[in-house]
């Protein structure tokens, strides 16, 4: 049976009925039957039901989830959830999409939802990427947010399919206590539901939580619950109607670096003379429990394992191979503590902020590097040029709250929070192809000797995680003749200057003869 805590926390979803329609009625009867079954002997006295409009009801009742397995990885501050769903179409009409539901609090912190379907059996198994789009269902209870997964082939009656969903939550671990001193380790709350929130009936489900250490202060019990090693298991639970919810709180130790880039501006500057210059402006913050009181260097130096365990002082950025002229600096000059290791596959830049970052401490810095143009700029069959570059923050294990990329012609800028792509002067009609929704706009920037200015394509994304490091393309047209404009301009200016000097020296301009 459930603990009283759960009763307090459970959300009630109101029931609204539209009984005129026969199908609606039918579905109502369906539900009523399931209610009676549950009520008849099984687990959930706080069962929640929703009646939806006819169409919604038809779509949500069409599917049932035979088996759901959820693995939540809490080992870093980025919560990764792997959800494996086995769905079945119980109605006659073919179903073309599956809907995932998220409570509003979680939906706000949702960085990414990806889905793939398994095709083939056992050894020949392969995965196909599926499109995931936010969607709305009418009468969503308590502001629930939905994402719909479009299936490759509509699911006909009685057919089953296995879907794998990965979604990533950021800022979902709440430090408690919110302030810790140097010698304490960091404890966090994780809130979720033991039951998967779903608009479908779920026959069987299990949830696993992977904790970063064996140290867990407390967790809500929803029997059967088991904690062993670094794994907390909720379930298996059988036969839960749509929108079942059973809040749980896990209070665990998590000393992984809570590195959050509040704002990241990546500027990608394309020069058709053979170089891409990337400048990344970071606003880094330790988003874990706030540091309070004294910072003692003696303790930090002499007892590193007990002192400031949640703090961090290194960050690793993975840069593309063949990177050159790397720099790492901030407002007051070069930061001398960084190491670059590079081989033909990738380059790794290990950077060390000026001081170790404790909870709430901030650091801002800039990383810049150049890349050979031929690795990233290509020509498409229709004569347009396109830049193929990776979106996202090169720092390992960081969340970016706002990323901007700016790409410019000669200057193309790209951002995770804010990406900017600056294209070369004279380039026209830029357009970007990014595999996930971003905000786009155009700007103009003036660089060395620019007359008309460079087109800058700005891409903005909120809440980016390392999984967003995927290639994106920027297409634009560019006439190579524009490359020569500036050198020619300079040459003619100097030529005119010397001619003027010659003229001055060879003519006597004095008034008196």
């Amino acid at each position: 049976m459930l603990s009283p805590v759960l009763h307090r926390h459970c959300h009630l979803f109101l029931v609204t009925g539209r009984s005129e329609d026969s199908r609606g009625l039918g579905s109502f009867q369906d539900m009523a039957r399931s209610i009676s079954m549950e009520a008849a002997g099984l687990t959930l006295p706080f069962l929640i039901l929703t009646f939806l409009t006819i169409s919604a009801a038809s779509s949500t009742n069409q599917i049932q989830i035979l088996n759901a397995e959820r693995r939540i990885d809490l080992s870093s501050h980025i919560v990764k959830v792997f959800l494996t769903l086995k769905v079945e179409n119980v109605m006659t009409a073919p179903a073309s999409e599956i809907v995932l539901a998220f409570p509003p609090a979680q939906a706000d912190h949702l960085a990414l939802v990806k889905a793939q379907a398994a095709i083939g059996k056992k050894k020949k198994k392969s995965y196909v990427h599926l499109d995931v789009n936010p969607t709305e269902l009418p009468d969503a209870p308590n502001g629930t947010k939905y994402f719909s997964i479009s299936l490759l082939n509509p699911l006909s009656s009685g057919e089953t399919a296995t879907l794998e969903v990965l979604y990533i939550l950021t800022h979902s671990l709440e430090p408690f206590p919110a302030e810790i001193s140097q010698s304490e380790s960091q404890l966090v709350y994780f809130r979720d539901s033991a039951l998967i929130l779903s608009p479908y009936h779920v026959k069987q489900q299990t949830t696993f939580l992977k904790t970063p250490s064996t140290k867990v202060e407390s967790f809500t019990r929803v029997e059967p619950t088991k904690f062993a090693g670094r794994e907390l298991k909720y379930g298996p639970y059988e036969d839960h109607p749509p929108y079942s919810f059973s809040p749980v709180i896990v209070h665990l130790e998590n000393n992984s670096p809570f590195a959050v880039v509040e704002e990241l501006l990546r500027e990608v500057e394309i020069s058709h003379w053979g170089n891409i210059q990337i400048t990344e402006h970071y606003k880094l913050v330790h988003a874990g429990a706030q540091h309070k009181g004294v910072f003692s260097r003696v303790e930090y130096q002499s007892r590193p394992s007990f002192s400031g365990t949640s703090s961090f002082k290194h960050l690793l950025a993975s840069l593309p191979p063949r990177v050159h002229s790397v720099y790492y600096r901030d407002d007051i000059g070069n930061i001398s503590s960084s190491h670059l290791r590079s081989d033909y596959r990738k380059s790794e830049l290990e950077i060390e902020p000026r001081y170790p970052l404790f909870g709430g401490w901030k650091a801002t810095f800039v990383i810049g590097y150049g890349l050979p143009l031929e690795d990233f700029l290509f020509e498409s069959p229709d004569g347009k040029r396109y830049l193929n570059f990776s979106f996202g923050c090169p720092l390992a294990e960081t969340v970016v709250d706002k990323l901007t990329i700016k790409v410019g012609l000669l200057l193309l800028i790209i951002c995770f929070h804010d990406a900017v792509v600056v294209l070369p002067e004279g380039s026209k009609d830029p357009s970007a192809a990014v595999p996930f929704p971003v905000e786009q706009r155009l700007e103009t920037k003036y660089s060395y000797l620019d007359v008309v200015g460079r087109t800058v394509l700005v891409l903005e994304k909120k809440n980016a995680v390392p999984e967003h490091i995927t290639p994106f393309q920027v297409y634009y047209t560019f006439k190579p003749i524009f490359m020569l404009a500036e050198p020619l301009m300079l040459a003619s200016v100097f030529f005119l200057f010397f001619v003027a000097c010659l003229a001055y020296l060879h003519n006597d301009l004095s008034i008196r003869k």
């Binding site: 004294v294 910072f295 003692s296 260097r297 003696v298 002499s302 901030d330 407002d331 007051i332 650091a363």
Partner: protein, 692 residues
């Protein structure tokens, strides 16, 4: 600053996407290159083109000037030396030509100098002095009259437009010499005119006597009255200390405390000038040998600036152009003599071979001494010697520049045990920490040396900085640093200080830290507040930090902040914990407890330590509230706690519910502890509800 801004906007206009920082970094080198051009023209003006060229070469690499003109030394001096040399050059040119245009140019140069650097006082005193010398030596001419008058009047009027200078030209004692010489010149000219009119020598002499006595009398009275009434301000301390090197030591410790204001050691002359030091007297000899208006000027410039360079290390900079010019004259003249010797000799031998050994007398004119044997070989040897010296000079300059002037002073570098380079970037670490992790309105107290750095790099308000004119203000900080913690806390509260920053080199062996500067803090503090007495910090006149140190020393704020928890640290193998590497002793007070401050940040090598000033305990407020009752009490309490809580960023205040019985939640943890420990003394206030 204005110069850099103009350059920046100019470049921006031409679509050069430069950053303002890049412009600032390159301002000094840009002006230094202009200086070499001016040096060439100056050399050409006073001697010949050869001397000009050599002067340009010498000044281009002279360490004394490079110290202020390396890229990144964005200082007034970099621009000022250019302006100084330009003014002098244009003035000498004006004197030589008697042209109003050059005089005007020189006035403009002077105006630029005034706007750039306080060292313009040197110009306004040197030029009158030079004019006076010319008058006395009977070299007075119409050219001089035109040059000086146009330069002085225009320069003065222009300089008055600078706010910083204002009416000092007519009011301050430092500018009186120029004015006196100005009147003297008018008098001189007037006398000449009268003499011309009278034509009679006896009458004129009588008149002269009367006029001179009258003029001197009136001048003296005017000066006396002006000084007495305060209209003409007396000389400032810095000026006195220039004339009398021992003055500052006795009277103004703050000036004496700056290392740049110390008298120059021979080694630093050698370091900055190298062979120029020996060429300088030689150059003077050549100048005297061929005396002209221009050479007199350069001789005077050289001698006076050399004297000032001896008084203050910093003024080596002013002496550098003069030394370079005079040395260039020496080098150029020597080499010229030697080469003419060589050339004529070969000519002679040529003519000798054709016309016979008897030779012409005409060629012997160019040869000073025909009789000397091995003259030709001697000349070659001397030439090689000169080239050797010059190449040594070039090598020395390169070495000095790379070793001493190329690395930023804020980043310290040392050699590790394996010969590798170790970088101590602690200053910037601390400043950036301040910038990022303290409230934007935090006020930092530190010794004034770090004021500019904290302001610029840490972006925080400081109590005193490098441009603090108010001596009392600096003394207050000195007093806080040298008091016991309780007294210092009162001072810090009154100054509204949030953080205290000290520089400590005990771990790394960095010797210019606050403990070594501490005696100056005591002296400066004691100079204004007699409470602070220097002997309290000394033992038998000795300054120590180990067990034998004075008790006041061991418990003053600076000592506590520098050595807090240092006693637990082993700095060197085989030494006891708490071994101070900068002073090579084990510290005397290892058990330091801080009551009103807490360690906020210490950099990785302990060079900079930042402490947070704790807010006062809550019981302070109970004293304020004692007599109040009812609504008045409620109001007062509310206002206090709101302002107080906001100030401290208090998190607890928000939790104050209407129903809470105890109103005063602790504002901070430290205060809350007091409830338990001081329960007897602590009387809780009457029960109040907040925000009712």
């Amino acid at each position: 600053m204005v110069t850099a801004a103009i350059m920046y906007w100019g470049l921006r206009f031409l679509r050069f996407a430069v950053h303002i920082r890049e412009v600032c970094v390159l301002t000094a080198p840009f002006f230094a290159s202009n200086t070499t051009l001016v040096a060439y023209f100056f050399g050409k003006e006073i001697w010949d083109t050869g001397a000009g060229l050599v002067a340009a070469v010498l000044i281009a690499i002279c360490p004394g000037y490079i110290s202020r003109s390396v890229a990144g030394s964005y200082d007034n001096e970099g621009v000022a030396i250019f302006a100084l040399l330009l003014t002098f050059y244009l003035f000498v040119k004006a004197v030589n030509t008697g042209s109003l245009a050059w005089g005007l140019g020189s006035a403009l140069g002077y105006f630029y100098m005034v706007s750039a650097w306080g060292g313009y006082v040197f110009i306004i005193n040197l030029i009158p002095l030079y004019v006076l010398v010319l008058l006395i030596t009977g070299r007075y001419s119409m050219r001089l009259y035109v040059a000086y008058n146009s330069m002085y009047v225009l320069g003065m009027l222009l300089a008055m437009q600078i706010r910083f200078v204002g009416f000092q030209h007519v009011q301050s004692g430092e500018h009186m010499a120029a004015m006196g010489v100005f009147f003297l010149m008018q008098g001189f000219y007037f006398l000449g005119w009268v003499k011309h009119l009278l034509g009679d020598k006896k009458k004129f002499e009588a008149l002269l006597r009367i006029i001179v006595t009258c003029a001197v009398g009136v001048g003296a009275i005017a000066l006396g009255v002006g000084t007495a009434s305060g209209y003409i301000s007396p000389w400032t301390g810095r000026f006195y200390s220039l004339l009398d090197p021992t003055y500052a030591k006795d009277h103004i410790p703050i000036i004496a405390s700056v290392s740049e204001h110390q008298p120059t050691a021979w080694s630093s002359f050698m370091f900055d000038f190298h062979i120029l030091l020996f060429l300088f007297p030689a150059g003077l000899y050549f100048c005297f040998k061929r005396l002209s208006d221009a050479t007199i000027f350069i001789v005077m410039y050289g001698l006076t600036s050399m004297y000032f360079a001896g008084v203050m290390v910093r003024l080596i900079l002013v002496a550098t152009p003069a030394v370079c010019l005079i040395s260039a004259i020496a080098v150029s003249a020597t080499i010229k003599n030697l080469t003419t010797l060589l050339r004529t000799k070969s000519k002679v031998s040529q003519t000798g071979s054709t016309k016979g050994a008897s030779g012409g007398k005409g060629s012997s004119k160019a040869l000073p001494d025909q009789s000397q044997p091995f003259q030709r070989n001697g000349a070659i040897a001397l030439l090689f010697g000169a080239f050797y010296l010059l190449s040594r000079y070039a090598i020395h300059c390169t070495w000095v520049t790379s070793e001493a002037y190329s690395s930023p002073s804020i980043v310290l570098a040392a050699r590790g045990a394996h010969g590798n380079r170790v970088i101590f970037d602690d200053y910037r670490e601390a400043y950036y920490w301040l910038r990022q992790n303290t409230p934007a309105d935090a006020k930092v107290m530190s010794w004034w040396d770090y004021g500019y750095q904290i302001t610029a790099m840490g972006n925080r308000t400081v109590i005193v900085d490098n441009n603090t004119w108010n001596n009392t203000h600096i003394a207050t900080v000195g007093r806080a640093m040298s008091s016991y913690e309780d007294e210092a806390y009162e001072i810090m509260r009154s100054l509204d200080v949030n953080y205290v920053l000290v520089v400590f080199g005990g771990v790394t062996g960095y010797s210019s830290d606050d403990i070594n500067k501490f005696l100056w803090m005591v002296r400066i503090g004691g100079g204004v507040f007699p409470v602070i007495k220097e002997p309290d910090y000394l033992v038998n006149g000795e300054y120590r930090v180990d067990k034998g140190a004075a008790p006041k020393m061991l418990n003053c704020l600076m000592y506590k902040l520098s050595y807090y928890r240092f006693g637990e640290l082993v700095t060197e193998y085989g030494k006891p914990p708490g071994y101070d590497r900068a002073r090579g002793v084990e510290i005397g007070n290892k058990d330091i407890k801080l009551e009103h401050l807490e360690e906020a940040f210490t950099t990785s090598n302990w060079i900079v330590r930042i402490y947070k000033v704790k807010p006062p305990n809550n019981r302070c407020y109970y004293a304020i509230l004692k007599g109040l009752k009812g609504k008045a009490l409620k109001k007062k309490l509310h206002s206090i706690s709101v302002t107080y809580c906001l100030k401290q960023g208090n998190k607890y205040y928000g939790e104050c519910h209407e129903k809470s019985i105890r109103f005063l939640k602790p504002a901070n943890k430290e205060a809350s502890l007091d409830r338990e420990t001081d329960s007897e003394r602590w009387a809780p206030p009457p029960q109040v509800f907040c925000k009712s």
